[in-house]
């Protein structure tokens, strides 16, 4: 029986702090630096009232750090989880997209036959969306910029009818020459891909420190290599898509997005609406990997079609749309020169890179990691971004660094070979103890521990003995390694509310999103830890701009480190309120109370009560806490690090590579949930393995058309390709970074995979691998060149 309610006693000892006079009040809004996807941005932050004590390595934590299963695992595997594609609204129409059948030219559409088809309710063409631009291109433009570009949308009562309608649209193309690759775009007399020309106006982007000419002059050994990486496609299981519905002048949109607030701003701006008249929702999501950072073309099209036709509209890309018109990782050509002393000390790093961007997207570039990963006084990178008649680039899991690492780390491994040095030893001799590119300290750096423990776990030092142990004479075994660095600090703004219900269950409300990474679970763990609640009693509510406080895009590996501290602060405020109420009920002082596993207890006494009892006694009094993310430490870079060790078998007769084992050692500060964190490592290793061995968008250069925009022909790895993956984390909390001690970890582990595998292949066959993916024909070709 719950005891009868009685009002809580007023809090003891709580006296308001003296009100500061105007003159003494410290500034409440300050600027701070936040690194997102390799770019540093200055953000304004409102200094939080509450700054919880950092959870350092000595902190006694019970839920944070526990291997609890993903809280939504059952919904996901039973089909109960609702994704954007599952949203069905009354009277909803389905949209099908007509796409450009050529890479360049001008399209003329005849939609009359489509409109005459059964069930077709309307079409959208250029005139309906004039002024809406994505990546600098007019939506539904009649000027064709790339094959697969949307030209028109047909809406019908069902998807099959919409597709039949789309097939009935007559598209006439007045052809124009195209340039779909670097060779074509940079050739004399190349067709103009963008009106400004084929080279980005910001190119070449030159970044340098020191004096590379002097560095090369001082070098005792110099190597130069050229590396090539392919266009890789995100291939998220859930394609881009949205459902839009209007109620009067108010728009609701369900979209598969990494950023509900970004999507809201994009839509509001394009449609001339106030932000409060646009509601964006997203519950479950089947992956984004960086390609879903704002309103997608599908969302604009759904919103405009719904307004025009007066019914909710669902617009989602099909798989071909997803593989041609949903972003990609840019290809790169990287010409690398390294200079070093005989002992391995780097004296110069020079990169000259050319990057075909497609029609646009941002200029991630492979260059940055060259400045960050290894100590070297003289570094110069030059990056030239080239427009091509292909779909625009979109950030893709550690954009820039993943491509750059293939060049930099491969070159380092080649240098180690040239010097007769162990590649790991070469890296140790060039260990950067501070952020040289920005000339400031690191919050923490435990890459050395990754090197040491990774090598130990892998058996790096007795690899020579294992080399000969292969199944057949034509199968060679090889070993390789590579390292990574990536901004992992996160930062403001991010807000959270924690609400206790009458039964003691808690809702964590924050406008972040879970892309499938496990944020929902991790944030609940942080709240449960802070409240002393049972994890099962905590629910994280994400993904609704109307009902939840702001949190930024889930990108750049920032969610845990950005939103986690806000959730902790909110939960702490709620817990303090709860304790004030419970203190009276337990006849104890607030400071004597502690809570764990849903039970509040009084220090040095047997008196306890559950959080549920306390809340129930409070009736409909709602215990609530608000929290926000504070600024980042000044003059500090907050990176995550890692080192990978790969073992492969190569059949030298067929050129087939089999990755046997990857050991991935990472430093990402405190790990809130090792199981979920390791699954990020495993996922990244598989995605990186696909990048290294199989994945490559293929276009026919003459026709300008994509050849393999299906999930069968664009070859992502299968389970049978998965090596033994041993992923683990070193070190502990990074309390300089933020008060949870956690840093980002989802992107870094893709960075070293391809160069580590390439090094292992090179080790096995005695020939360097200058290009990925390392298909059988490329391996055979390198074997031949090597003789």
């Amino acid at each position: 029986m719950a005891p009868r309610k009685r009002p809580p006693a007023p809090a003891r000892g709580a006296s308001a702090p003296p009100a500061p006079t105007e003159a003494h009040r410290p500034p409440r809004f300050v600027a701070t630096k936040v690194e997102i996807e390799g770019r540093e941005e200055t953000k304004i932050v409102e200094l939080p009232d509450r700054n919880p004590q950092p959870w350092d390595d000595a902190a006694e934590l019970h839920v944070v750090g526990a291997r609890v299963p993903r809280m939504d695992a059952v919904e996901k595997v039973t089909g109960g989880a609702r994704y954007t594609a599952d949203v069905l609204r009354p009277g909803m129409l389905w949209a099908a997209v007509v796409r450009a059948p050529a890479a360049a030219g001008r399209a003329t559409l005849d939609v009359s036959a489509a409109l005459a088809r059964p069930g077709v309710r309307g079409v959208l063409t250029l005139d309906d969306v004039r002024g809406i631009r994505l990546d600098g291109m007019q939506l539904l433009d009649d000027a064709i910029h790339y094959a697969g570009q949307p030209l028109c949308v047909v809406c019908a009562d069902h998807y099959a009818l919409a597709r039949a309608g789309a097939a009935a649209v007559r598209v006439t193309v007045e052809p124009a020459p195209h340039a779909v690759n670097l060779e074509q775009a940079l050739a004399d007399g190349a067709p103009r891909v963008r009106s400004r020309g084929n080279v980005s106006p910001r190119s070449p982007r030159l970044i340098q420190r020191g004096d590379v000419d002097a560095g090369l002059h001082d070098a005792e050994v110099t190597i130069t290599r050229e590396y090539r990486t392919p266009v890789a496609l995100h291939s998220a299981l859930e394609p881009h898509g949205a459902v839009a519905e209007w109620e009067g002048g108010r728009l609701s949109v369900w979209e598969s997005t990494q950023g509900i607030f970004n999507t809201r701003s994009d839509l509001a701006k394009a449609l001339g609406l106030g932000l409060s008249n646009v509601r964006v929702m997203k519950d479950y999501m089947g992956g984004g990997f960086g390609a879903k950072n704002g309103a997608s073309a599908a969302a604009y099209l759904a919103a405009v079609a719904a307004r025009k036709l007066g019914r909710p509209v669902r617009c989602a890309w099909d798989r071909e749309g997803e593989q041609t018109d949903a972003g990609n990782r840019s290809a790169t050509v990287q010409r690398v020169t390294l200079g070093a002393k005989r002992d391995g000390t780097l004296t110069a790093i020079v990169l000259d890179a050319t990057i075909p961007l497609g029609m646009g997207g941002w200029e991630a570039g492979p260059g940055r990691i060259y400045h960050e990963l290894h100590a070297c006084p003289n570094v110069r990178t030059s990056e030239t971004f080239v427009y091509t008649n292909t779909g625009p680039m979109a950030s893709f899991r550690a954009p820039g660094h993943t491509e750059g690492a293939f060049g930099l780390e491969s070159a380092l491994n080649a240098l180690a070979g040239e010097l007769g040095l162990d590649p790991l030893e070469l890296r140790r001799r060039n260990y950067a103890t501070a952020d040289q590119s920005r000339d400031r300290r690191y919050s923490a750096k435990r890459l050395d521990e990754c090197y040491r423990r990774g090598a130990e776990r892998f058996g790096w030092h007795d690899r020579a003995a294992r080399r000969a142990t292969t199944s057949a004479t034509h199968v060679r075994r090889g070993f390789g390694m590579a390292a990574c660095v990536w901004g992992g600090g996160g930062g403001p703004p991010a807000y959270a509310t924690v609400r206790l219900n009458r039964d003691g269950t808690a809702d964590v409300l924050t406008g972040a999103q879970d892309l499938g990474t496990g944020s929902r679970t991790v944030l609940a763990q942080i709240a449960a830890e802070t409240l002393g609640a049972k994890l099962a009693d905590v629910r994280t509510v994400l993904g609704d701009t109307e009902r939840l406080p702001f949190a930024s895009n889930s990108w750049g590996s920032i969610t845990t480190a950005s939103v986690g501290p806000a959730v902790r602060a909110a939960a702490e405020e709620a817990r303090d309120r709860l304790f004030e109420a419970a203190a009276a009920m337990l006849d104890a002082g607030v400071t004597e109370l502690s809570s764990r596993d849903g039970v509040i207890s009084v220090r040095g006494s047997e008196r306890t009560m559950t959080i549920g009892e306390a809340c129930n006694r409070l009736g409909d009094v709602m215990i609530m806490g608000q929290g926000s993310r504070g600024p980042n430490p000044e003059q500090t870079t907050i990176p995550a690090f890692g080192a990978h060790f790969a073992e492969v078998e190569v059949d030298v007769e067929t050129g087939r590579v089999r990755v046997v084992r990857i050991v991935a050692a990472h430093d990402s500060g405190r790990i809130i949930n090792p199981t979920l964190a390791e699954s990020q490592l495993e996922g990244a290793v598989l995605q990186g393995l696909g990048y290294a061995l199989f994945e490559e968008r293929v276009l026919d250069a003459r026709l300008g058309l994509p050849m393999n925009p299906t999930l069968h022909d664009y070859k992502v790895p299968t389970m049978a390709d998965a090596p033994a993956i041993e992923g683990f984390f070193v070190g502990g909390a990074d309390t300089v970074a933020n008060h949870t001690g956690a840093k980002g970890l989802a992107e870094p582990p893709i960075i070293p995979v391809a160069p580590a595998i390439a090094a292992a292949v090179a080790d096995a066959i005695g020939a360097e691998m200058p290009e990925i993916p390392m298909t059988p024909w490329r391996v055979l070709a390198e074997l031949k060149t090597a003789g």
């Binding site: 007769e653 050129g655 790895p717």
Partner: protein, 320 residues
């Protein structure tokens, strides 16, 4: 995608009668057909599903020890059939190498032999010999997965794994239509592109594969099917090989992935392998002889090396 009707045939006669209709095509598991319709590669008006025909999915031995596989037998059922596993293991291995478990469960043997090539240009509707055009765009294009031998004017390869094993096993294909039934040796089942680039098999309009026969003389002995893919699963063969030395003697080898259809290795090479006593040098020489006619396109030369490796491996295995 054009509209079509669907009929589940109740008997062989029913199927044959239905298939005599205009633009009627047989359907097995639909794993290829439905996708091809969806992609607009083919546009039939009527689908005649053969899976309901009594006995069409049977896999059985006859009195003389030959194997009869119904045209609608599932690939999985052939892969796991005890008699196939024991007596024609090359066929079991080839069936087991098809696609993925779901595809093997859905896909039928008739459909597998009659599936359309995966050439990107054909599948993406680029004008080519297979879809009414008069040039092969792959010759100057992305031809890394296409034929290195026996190709031209179309260079697409036939994607079936079982067909390669059936070729080495000298199977026969029974073809039925309203006009009756004929049986062709598998070597005559696939049509070279020089003869008719728009199609791959002799199965004409109104006809369907009602059964596949595997002779008793092909049973037992040493039998292997090896498939090289880019990844470990769910991939078509870059190159594959079926190699058998049946209990009754003789050596037969067929390559997949290298030619427009399964490529039976030259009989003089087979005879030399059968006569035995080969050292590494003679094995290499024989492998080269087997591929003497190969003429790679711009991007598929690696297939010759792969085929050479598979031939050498198979010859060593057959020698033991």
């Amino acid at each position: 995608m054009s509209p079509f009707t669907y009929h589940r045939a109740t008997s062989t006669d029913d199927a044959a009668a239905r298939l005599a209709g205009a633009r009627a095509v047989p359907m097995g598991g639909g794993t290829d057909l439905l996708v091809a319709i969806d992609e607009g590669v083919v546009a039939p008006a009527q689908l005649v599903d053969l899976r309901g025909v009594p006995g069409a999915d049977a896999v059985a031995l006859d009195a003389r020890g030959a194997l009869r596989i119904g045209g609608a037998a599932r690939v999985h059922d052939v892969a796991r059939h005890p008699a196939v596993l024991e007596r024609w293991p090359a066929l079991a291995q080839a069936c087991e190498a098809v696609g993925s478990p779901t595809l093997r469960q859905m896909g039928t043997m008739g459909g597998n032999l009659c599936q359309r090539p995966r050439c990107w240009y054909f599948r993406r509707g680029v004008s080519c010999f297979k879809n009414g055009g008069d040039e092969c765009p792959a010759v100057d294009g992305e031809n890394q997965y296409l034929a290195v031998i026996g190709g031209g004017p179309c260079h697409a390869v036939h994607p079936s794994d079982p067909a390669v094993a059936l070729t080495a096993l000298e199977a026969t294909v029974e073809i039925t239509s309203a006009g009756g039934t004929r049986t062709v040796p598998i070597a005559a089942f696939f049509v070279p592109p020089a003869e008719a680039p728009e199609r791959e098999t002799v199965v004409g309009p109104g006809e369907f594969v009602s059964a596949i026969g595997v002779p008793a003389v092909s049973a037992g002995g040493v039998q292997r099917y090896h498939k090289l893919m880019q990844r470990e699963a769910w991939d078509f063969a870059l190159v594959s090989i079926a190699a058998v030395r049946p209990a009754a003697g003789g050596v037969r080898m067929a390559l997949g992935g290298v030619a427009p259809g399964p490529w039976r290795v030259n009989s003089s090479v087979e005879e030399d392998v059968a006569s035995g006593g080969l050292d590494d040098d003679s094995i290499s020489a024989l492998a080269e002889r087997a591929l003497y006619d190969a003429q790679p396109l711009s991007k598929n030369g690696y297939k010759i090396e792969m085929a050479g490796a598979l031939l050498r491996q198979a010859m060593r295995e057959l020698a033991t």
